[in-house]
C-alpha cells in the first residue's frame, strides 16, 4: 500500500521525513481501556514501527460503549484486553509490529521494556502506575503523555524529561479516591478528546518537532463547553526526587508500591496501598450506595456487596476483596473504585 500514508505526509510538519521517523519509533501504551484502545488505534494507523500495549484486564460488556477496539465477541470470549487489542490492531495495519502483554505494569516490567521505547502514552486508570511510569520515564529519559478522563471532562499534560516539570513535581503524593469511571461515569466524547490531545502530542514527539509540543496542562469539559489550560513551567521542583538534581526514583521502590496478597484459604485478596493519607469512608460509602450497592459500615471500615465480590475498605486505604484469588482482578477492581 504505497499511498497508505499519503494524506499524513502531505501535512507539511510531518512530510516524508517525518513519516520515516514515525516508522522507526517504538511506542509503549500502558493500559488498553478507553484511552489505550483509542491511542493504540491512532498510532497504528499513523504507521509507528512498533507498538507495545500492556493491560491486566479482560473485556466486559460495560467497556463496549467507549473502548473502540472491542466487540461483543471479545466480551463473550472474555478475552484479555491486550490480546483482543492485538488482534484488531494487526487487522488495521499489518505493517506495524504489535506486542501485547497481559499483566500488571509493574516497575520491573516497565524497566524491562524501557530500553528501546521512544515514547510512553499513559492510558492507565490509577496514579500509582502513573508515578511508576513517571520515574521510569525520568530514569531512561523517555517522553510520556499523561491523559485521564471521567464523566464529561478530561485532562492531559506532556512530560519531557529535562525540560518540563514531571508528575511528581505536580502532585508529590499519589491521589486516591478521586472520581473514577466506575463511580462518576464517562461519556465517549470525553475519551476521544483526551485521545486527540495525547496522539497529537505523540505525533509531534515522534517526528521530533519539539517546538510544537504543548507545555501547558489542558483540561476541558465536553458537556459544559469549557476548555482551559494552565501554565506549568514554574512547577518544576529542583529538589524533586523523580526529576530533580539528585533523583531517587521513589516510585520504583517496592516499599512505595501497593502490596497485593492472597489470604490463605479465604478466597480473598488483600490490597495495601503505600503511604496514603487514608480514605474518607463516609464519602466512599456514599459513592457505592449511589451505584446501588448495599453498604454497611462502622467508623473503622465499610463493607459493600458488589456483583461478584464483597469489598471491605479500611480507613488506612487497605482493602479486602472477597470472592477471588486473582491478584490482578482484585487490584483492577480496587483501582476502578478508588482510582
Amino acid at each position: 500500500m504505497s499511498n497508505r500514508y499519503s494524506r499524513q505526509t502531505l501535512f507539511p510538519p510531518i512530510g516524508k521525513m517525518g513519516q520515516e521517523k514515525i516508522r522507526t519509533k517504538h511506542v509503549l501504551i500502558i493500559g488498553a481501556g478507553a484511552l489505550g484502545s483509542g491511542n493504540a488505534e491512532v498510532m497504528t494507523r499513523a504507521g509507528v514501527g512498533k507498538l507495545t500495549i500492556v493491560d491486566r484486564d479482560y473485556v466486559e460488556a460495560s467497556n463496549l460503549q467507549r473502548q473502540q477496539l472491542y466487540t461483543e465477541e471479545d466480551v463473550a470470549e472474555k478475552l484479555p484486553k491486550a490480546a483482543a487489542a492485538e488482534k484488531r490492531l494487526k487487522a488495521i495495519n499489518s505493517e506495524v509490529e504489535i506486542q501485547s502483554i497481559i499483566g500488571d505494569a509493574t516497575p520491573e516490567m516497565l524497566a524491562e521494556l524501557a530500553g528501546d521505547v521512544d515514547l510512553i502514552i499513559d492510558s492507565t486508570d490509577n496514579f500509582e502506575t502513573r508515578m511508576a511510569i513517571n520515574d521510569i520515564a525520568q530514569k531512561y529519559q523517555i517522553p510520556w503523555i499523561y491523559g485521564a478522563c471521567v464523566a464529561s471532562f478530561g485532562m492531559s499534560f506532556t512530560i519531557i524529561p529535562g525540560k518540563t516539570p514531571c508528575l511528581n513535581c505536580l502532585l508529590k503524593t499519589v491521589p486516591i479516591q478521586g472520581l473514577t469511571c466506575d463511580t462518576g461515569g464517562i461519556i465517549g466524547p470525553a475519551v476521544q478528546m483526551v485521545i486527540a490531545h495525547q496522539t497529537a502530542e505523540a505525533l509531534k514527539i515522534l517526528v521530533e518537532d519539539w517546538e510544537a509540543v504543548r507545555t501547558s496542562f489542558v483540561n476541558f469539559d465536553m458537556w459544559r463547553n469549557q476548555y482551559t489550560s494552565m501554565k506549568m513551567s514554574r512547577a518544576k521542583d529542583p529538589g524533586c526526587l523523580s526529576c530533580g538534581e539528585h533523583p531517587e526514583y521513589p516510585y520504583l521502590e517496592a516499599e512505595n508500591m501497593t502490596k497485593t496478597t492472597v489470604l490463605c484459604g479465604r478466597d480473598t485478596v488483600q490490597i495495601r496501598p503505600p503511604h496514603t493519607e487514608g480514605v474518607d469512608l463516609k464519602d466512599m460509602a456514599g459513592k457505592l450506595k449511589a451505584l446501588g450497592y448495599e453498604v454497611k459500615g462502622n467508623p473503622y471500615l465499610l463493607s459493600a456487596e458488589l456483583e461478584d465480590n464483597r469489598f471491605v475498605l479500611f480507613q488506612d486505604g487497605r482493602a479486602l476483596i472477597h470472592g477471588t484469588k486473582d491478584l490482578a482482578q482484585a487490584k483492577s477492581l480496587y483501582n476502578r473504585l478508588l482510582g
Binding site: 489505550g36 485521564a148 502532585l171 491521589p175 469549557q226 474518607d280
Partner: protein
C-alpha cells in the same frame, strides 16, 4: 481574587472561575471563604481534620502549595489560584 476551579468542583461553584473576596491572605483564608460561599464544597475538598483531601490540589501560579507553605501559603490578588482534583480514569 479569581479562583479557577476544575472538574466536578465546577458544578458546585457554578462556573470555571469564581471571584473570592477574603479578608485573609493565606490559601486557607481563600478556601474558608469559598466554603462560606458554596457550603457543598467543604465535603469535596476538606477532611474532618480540615486538611485537603488527598486528591485535591491547590496550585498558585502553576505551583503546587505542597511545595510552598501548604494551606498557610500567602497569596496576592494578582496570583493565579487553581483548585484542582487530578483525574485518574482512563
Amino acid at each position: 481574587m479569581q479562583v479557577k476551579v476544575f472538574a466536578n468542583l465546577r458544578d458546585i461553584c457554578g462556573g470555571v472561575q469564581v471571584e473570592v473576596k477574603s479578608d485573609g491572605d493565606r490559601v486557607i483564608d481563600i478556601l474558608d471563604k469559598m466554603v462560606e460561599m458554596f457550603p457543598e464544597i467543604d465535603e469535596e475538598i476538606f477532611t474532618e481534620e480540615k486538611k485537603l483531601k488527598p486528591f485535591v490540589h491547590v496550585y498558585i501560579n502553576g505551583k503546587n502549595i505542597i511545595h510552598l507553605d501548604d494551606l498557610q501559603t500567602k497569596v496576592e490578588q494578582s496570583d493565579q489560584f487553581a483548585l484542582f482534583p487530578p483525574v485518574a480514569g482512563g
